[in-house]
């Protein structure tokens, strides 16, 4: 996206302009006087965008932070919700609830177990498995599909779930995971297992595998996204380098790890961070497939539960703030990457 902004040669444009109206127009400055409208002109163009963003993003963010220190309907301080004999963090009471309520602190072992079945533990599982899964499937497919004649079809199929809603994907996979009667399995996965002589599994209500089964759906949806971006990066790897390495006797494996991956590493980083952000915000899949039951809750769904099922404004917004805090490093990363891009423009 490099923009050649060579201002030292305005002559060409002037000549064009002059050429069109040869006699009367004197050689004008690059930007004519008429264009130098008041300093407020740019702001007119920005106004609609800035107004909606201020109202729908900036103001609610600040308001959310404020509400997270209040009680369930935002009418009094959160400290008033403390009860005698219970632990209390004063005005941070909602945060105490959001951060500790899911944990059993009676012993280290119990804490460890309750952590991994909490929305926090599950979100970590989601991030690790899903990011690893999507990036490896995407990268492997980008490299391999490059070598077959039906590349376009293969990529379109892998990419197709991106057009489907999370709700639609949830239905598709809930059907695959269906746990039927002892007689017939109409869910594909259990039918395969029983036809091989195994016992059917209730995929979505058996902990701890159910979280991973939902993560698989996430991988199914997002691998195409990773594949597309990584494939574009791979296309920019110079063929000469790859050919030179192959002529020197490098195996495909070596070429992949020692040449391709290092060259596209910046893109991989971008894809990874994008995926982490996507996972943190992901709500629909869990909502549709299990509703956060059977120990499959994640932070984003918990926020919805607190706010719109338990109708607790204070707790809901506290969970939202925690979600944003988790995302802040990526906001920083995003801006930093942007600044680097601008520097090379």
């Amino acid at each position: 996206m490099a923009t050649p902004q060579d201002i030292s040669k305005p002559a060409t444009t002037s000549e064009v302009a002059v050429g069109r109206r040869p006699v009367k127009t004197p050689r004008a400055a690059p930007v004519p006087e008429i264009m130098k409208q008041g300093p407020w002109v740019p702001w007119l163009y920005l106004l609609p965008a800035l107004v909606v963003m201020a109202f729908f993003i900036v103001y609610p963010m600040i308001n959310t932070i404020g509400l997270s220190f209040q009680n369930r309907d935002g009418t009094a301080s959160a400290a008033t919700t403390c009860r005698d004999g219970q632990p209390c963090w004063g005005v941070f009471e909602n945060y105490r609830y959001a951060l500790t309520d899911e944990f059993n602190t009676s012993s280290p072992g119990a804490f460890w177990n309750s952590f991994w079945s909490s929305s926090y533990g599950n979100t970590i599982k989601w991030i690790v498995v899903m990011v690893f899964g999507t990036v490896s499937v995407g990268l492997a497919f980008a490299v391999l599909a490059d070598r077959v004649k039906y590349e376009a079809l293969a990529k379109a199929i892998l990419f197709m779930p991106m057009a489907i809603s999370f709700v639609g994907a949830g239905v598709i996979w809930k059907f695959v995971y269906d746990y039927g009667t002892s007689q017939t399995q109409i869910g594909l996965l259990n039918a395969i297992i029983t036809s091989l002589g195994g016992r059917p599994v209730a995929w979505l209500s058996t902990t701890p595998i159910n979280t991973f089964m939902i993560v698989l759906v996430g991988i199914w949806i997002w691998s195409g996204f990773c594949m597309t971006i990584l494939a574009a990066a791979l296309k920019s790897v110079p063929d000469e380098i790859l050919e030179a390495a192959r002529v020197d006797g490098a195996t495909e494996w070596t070429v992949f790890w020692k040449i391709m991956v290092p060259i596209i590493l910046p893109t991989i980083t971008v894809v990874v961070t994008t995926m982490v952000i996507n996972v943190l915000k992901l709500f629909d899949l869990v909502y549709v497939m299990t509703g956060g039951n059977f120990e499959t809750d994640v932070i984003a769904n918990r926020m919805y539960t607190e706010m719109y099922k338990n109708f607790n404004v204070g707790r809901g917004t506290a969970v939202a703030v925690i979600l944003v805090v988790a995302i802040i490093p990526f906001i920083y990363f995003n801006i930093k990457r942007f600044l680097e891009q601008e520097a090379t423009r």
Binding site: M1, L46, T64
Partner: protein
Amino acid sequence: MNRDQINKLLNRIPTHLIIILTMLIWIVPTVGLLVTSLRPPEAVGSSGWWTVFAPQNAAAGPYATYCAECHGADGKALPQADLSNQELVAKYPRSLQLLAMLRQPINGQPHLGDRPLPGAQEAADIASFLRQGEQTQSQFTFNNYIDALVGYRGQNTYRVDCAAGTQPPDLRCNLSDILNPRGMGRAFVNSLFVTIPATILPILFAAFAGYAFAWLDFKGRFLLFALLVGLQVVPLQMTLVPISRFYAQVGLNGTFLGVWLFHTGFGMPYAIYLMRNFLGTLPRDLFESAYLDGASHWTAFRQLVIPLAMPAIASLGIFQFLWVWNDLLVSLVFLGGTTPVMTYQISNMVTSLGSGWQVLTAAAFLSMLLPMIVFFSLQRYFVRGMLAGAVKG
């Protein structure tokens, strides 16, 4: 073909295998959804959707094992016991009657000779295989789509109930049913109503702002844009509560306007980012010559920027369209059940009502239809937009 070529071919087999296997995993679940949505309800509940690809063999299995040798593949081999005769078959409709008949000796010999009797399940399969002559009903039906569109929730199908006059009270069995608030037909209209303005509005605003960021000089331009880049990743959840409280005060909850505005505000950072980056790549000469010709910014914007930015507008349009169409959270919070959109309707079917798979799959497929068409016809622009931005709230 020489040895090298054969070797090369062999080396490629694993690649092909991996790719084709992955393609299958990606496509088969969706095929299952489509097939199920076209099957009659009884079939959906009693057998897997994949059986439609091998329907005869599945039922013929036990028949072939136990009966085909004497009665023949079509049951007509023995004139005194013609199994293709439905009157004869009707005498043992179920496994119990069939087994009782098989236990009786024929001419003093056991019916099946030395062979053991079939098990209960096998006998049932044989009985249903023999009955198939009378059950010539089609394997596929569009009834599920009709049921999904009108929001029918009953034991039969909409058409059967309407013919019998026993339809649920919220249905009138005329064209107005397509707008039944519980159906996908209404939800489709609502989804369109939500999506179209929520796609156009952000693009328009982003085009204005993108032009300012790319070609106008103002104080704080860079800082503001960097801030915008940061705002791209702010999660939706962070802003829902204050907005829904505000909407409740001013009466915007459950209105299209509220959703349009929210999607516009939230789509803005990414849209501006994409627009500005695209407009920034347009040649500077173009603008300078336009200004020299006396064009104002407004003229330049209308006659240069909008036509030239069409590729970016297309990318952005598809992105925003898919985003809004597929969104659940925003419509759940701001529209809910009063003005249900497709995603809401489906999630409701999944989580609370537990309607049969055949209606659920039909509904899901209906909701995927438009995005799929948009996606496959305009894939190029979609990919381009994704590569340019890569991040979307």
